[in-house]
């Protein structure tokens, strides 16, 4: 009668939490031409970014097949168990669709709930961490966890900035931020996610320090002194992430911090030099 938490590799969860909280992560696929890799299984961030820098070929990504989900469902659950799968926004990927097809196949012995988180990366990751913590409590039901997830979805905030909108545009994930394309002034966009898609939140002129302050300022306005779970994450710019972390620590009430790096799948779409911050009330 156990509750099992499953997510996908776009959650960018640090390995420590995957292990500690017994979270199952289903890998998405990365394609470099005809070569296919499973994210976090046979390709990792370091190798991936190396290739991204050194090869002319830009990678594509694809959702896990329904069959891969089926295998995982069968391997982790016993009859009577409940699997709660929390996945990347369906506006960005068909992953939840594959999970759902697999859930409806004959051969599953347990109950399977599928939740479209409406987010990606550690915004999805923080929700998964909270859900996995809750699932450890024997007295909690699946319905309670799902209700809680719906609350967290309303409370979470994500702000990030990219070096170029080109990557998001190339793979069709730019969402409403397309209005920022083609600006002749040197503008750093601050993006967010709303209703499952990327939206422009702010346009900032100035250096990354300025951008970082604006991102934190937005969180201060939203949360005041509420104790927060915070994640600062980046693609290969730890020094910038450190600046952002510093500003966040000075201005926000951080109860728990989950630094992470952007994984290969999200990195394929966000491109290099991405940095962002995610906040979710700790309680």
């Amino acid at each position: 009668m156990a509750l099992k938490i499953v997510t996908d590799s776009t959650a960018d969860l640090p390995l420590r939490w995957i292990r500690e909280l017994n979270i199952t992560v289903v890998p998405l696929n990365i394609h470099f031409g005809d070569e296919v890799y499973k994210d976090g299984v046979d390709i990792w961030s370091e190798e991936f970014y190396n290739r991204l820098r050194n090869e002319p070929l830009l990678p594509n990504t694809s959702q896990p097949s329904p069959g891969e989900f089926l295998k995982i469902y069968q391997s982790i659950a016993s009859p009577g168990d409940t699997i709660i799968g929390i996945y990347i926004s369906q506006e960005m990927s068909g992953t939840a669709g594959s999970a759902k097809i697999a859930a409806e196949l004959p051969g599953n012995s347990c109950r399977i709930e599928i939740i479209d988180s409406r987010f990606v990366s550690m915004a999805l990751g923080l929700i998964v961490i909270k859900a996995a913590r809750m699932a450890k409590n024997n007295n909690v039901t699946a319905a309670e966890i799902i209700a809680a997830i719906h609350d967290w979805q309303k409370q979470i905030a994500i702000y990030f900035t990219l070096n170029s909108l080109e990557y998001l545009h190339r793979t069709g994930r730019i969402g409403k931020a397309s209005t920022l394309l083609g600006s002749l002034l040197n503008i750093r966009p601050i993006l967010s996610i709303s209703d499952g898609v990327i939206i422009p939140s702010e346009k900032v002129r100035g250096n990354i320090q300025k951008v970082a302050s604006v991102m934190v300022e937005k969180l201060v306005q939203q949360y005041g002194k509420t104790p927060l779970m915070i994640c600062v994450l980046h693609t290969e710019i730890p020094e910038v992430a450190q600046i952002l972390q510093g500003i966040a620590e000075k201005n926000l009430n951080i109860a728990e911090s989950y630094p992470s790096i952007v994984g290969p799948i999200v990195g394929s779409h966000a491109g290099p030099n991405t940095v962002g911050i995610i906040a979710l009330p700790a309680q």
Binding site: S62, Q63, S65, G182, K203
Partner: protein, 543 residues
């Protein structure tokens, strides 16, 4: 040939033939891929999925068609790649689910049942089914199969007719899905499925399947144009001319051609055979390419497009399109081609030419407001003498008009930083006013009459500098004035300085000034833009 029914081993052969046919065309299908995201992998994804289905089906030793199709469905499910792959997996599963158990043969009835079952499940698998895709083809052939089931045709003719119908629906996909029409292609997933069916038909007709499309000349001319040129226009274009032609010759060595051309550009494509090949390349010197090719054979269907020009046209069109969908329109008053472009790139739809010595009339502004489709319009006067005029525009138009009292160009640009069409008009006005008041404006121009500044006489034509409208500096050259102006603004030491140079300043002079300023203000961030404005050598802002 007259086909009565399809048994298990025939079914496997048909699946092998369909998969081989798709393999032969997979690169072509990849280039068609514009929907839902143009990542150019539909052909590959579908092929890998069909291949996985075939592998499982072939390994299944049962003589029952259900078992073989179940195995194929399982294989597709395991190997499904991408959206199109998931749909293929549901196609197999829906097909077999609709059949009665223990079947040894498939005849017309089973095909009809199977296709309808496939159609139902495929539509369920997609969260928001879109017409003009592989789903439409599946749905329409299922319908066609039902409508023609009672015709007294043989099984193979029945299948042929279904295939013909699939082709017709495929050809209509651009009419159903605008993004396809815009790119001039049929839907990639639909095309992939039709190629799979084509392989089945070829097998039924006893024809051989070409193993590689590169050996099939008649296909060469129908290779889709490189879609990335048309849809991904924001990137830097390193090679300006898209060059395409057909080369007819004898014993053409395609590898030699590839190797010879690849240093001259990117996106190189050489397909065809030793007599007939299609060459596509982005290059900065089409002459060299044609000169090389003409030595190898005859050239035909030569096409050269300037992609920079195309990209500019597309951007203009994109701006037009985005402006027609906007809730809130924006009119800005400015002078100079550079500043006009900058304002437009930030989302201003209508620019009224004007400024210090040419104040636009109420009529000019009203016309600009009327020309914008939106019923709510924000005006950026960008000059203190124009604010009052702008305030009267609302009396002459039924539209809701708000004025952000921007007194300078930099204030107007700053205001645009806080514009978002997702916010209400009132929220935008509030945020834009707030933002515009945070910049300090500097102007460097010349005196239009003689006067005294700090008891120092200024002659007509002397270079003077102003900060927020007050004279703070004069000097021999506009560049020296810029430096003095910046030194009078404490925030310049660590802030963001934007410099817009005017019509009378050369790019080189402006660049020299930038270098100098970077040395004198090491803590500041300085950005230089071409403004093209008259009267003002430089406009600048500090924020």
């Amino acid at each position: 040939m007259q086909l009565g029914a399809i048994n298990g081993s025939m079914l496997k052969q048909l699946m092998a033939s369909g998969t081989a046919s798709l393999f032969a065309h997979k690169s072509e299908v990849d280039t068609l891929n514009v929907f839902p995201v143009p990542d150019g992998d539909t052909g590959t994804n579908m092929y890998l999925t069909f291949q996985s289905a075939l592998r499982e089906a072939t390994q299944n030793s049962s003589d029952q068609v259900n078992d073989i199709l179940e195995a194929a469905a399982y294989g597709a499910l395991m190997g499904a790649r991408g959206n199109s792959g998931v749909i293929v997996s549901q196609f197999f599963r829906g097909f077999v689910k609709a059949l009665p158990k223990g079947l040894k043969h498939i005849s017309k009835v089973e095909i009809e049942k199977g296709l309808n079952g496939a159609s139902t499940l495929c539509f369920q698998a997609v969260r928001q089914p879109v017409e003009g895709t592989i789903l439409t083809v599946i749905k329409e052939i299922a319908k066609f199969a039902t409508e023609n089931l009672s015709q007294k045709t043989s099984l193979d003719l029945y299948i042929q007719d279904i295939y013909q119908h699939a082709n017709q629906v495929l050809a209509q996909t651009p009419e159903m899905l605008p993004v396809l029409k815009k790119a001039g292609v049929v839907d990639a997933g639909a095309q992939g499925l039709v190629y799979y069916f084509k392989g089945i038909i070829q097998h039924l007709n006893g024809e051989a399947i070409p193993t590689e499309i590169e050996n099939s000349t008649q296909k060469v001319t129908s290779v889709a144009p490189y879609i990335d040129d048309d849809l991904l226009d924001e990137g830097e274009i390193n090679f300006q001319y898209c060059t395409e032609f057909i080369l007819k010759g004898k014993q053409l060595d395609l590898d030699y051609i590839k190797n010879s051309l690849s240093p001259h550009g990117d996106c190189l494509l050489v397909v065809g055979d030793e007599n007939n090949s299609k060459i596509h390349l982005h290059t900065n010197n089409p002459g060299i390419i044609l000169d090389f090719a003409v030595r190898l054979g005859d050239l035909s269907e030569i096409q050269i497009h300037n992609m920079v020009e195309q990209s500019q046209q597309r951007q203009a069109k994109m701006l037009m399109e985005s402006s027609t969908n906007r809730q809130i329109g924006i009119v800005a008053v400015t002078a100079g081609d550079g500043l006009e472009r900058i304002f437009r790139s930030l989302g201003v739809q209508s620019v009224v030419n004007g400024g210090q010595t040419m104040n636009p009339s109420i009529e000019d502004l009203t016309k600009a407001v009327s020309a914008i489709p939106s019923s709510k319009v924000i005006i950026l006067p960008n000059n203190s003498n124009i604010i009052m005029t702008a305030n009267h525009v609302h009396e002459l138009t039924p539209k809701e008009v708000k004025v952000i009292p921007t007194q300078s160009i930099p204030e107007g640009l700053a205001a645009m930083m806080n514009f978002s069409d997702d916010n209400s008009l009132d929220v935008n006005v509030e945020r834009m006013i707030e933002k515009s008041s945070t910049v300090i404006t500097g102007e460097v121009t010349y005196a239009v009459r003689a006067f005294h500044f700090n008891e120092q006489p200024i002659k007509q034509g002397d270079n003077i500098g102003l900060v927020n409208g007050e004279i703070v500096a004069c000097d021999e050259s506009p560049e020296l004035v810029v430096e003095k102006v910046l030194k009078s603004i404490p925030a310049a030491n660590s802030g963001l300085i934007s410099l817009y140079y005017g019509h009378e300043v050369t790019a080189m002079t402006a660049q020299d000034l930038l270098n100098k300023l970077e040395a004198s203000f090491p803590q500041a961030e300085i950005e230089l833009y071409y403004g093209g404005q008259p009267l003002y050598y430089y406009l600048l802002s500090v924020e």
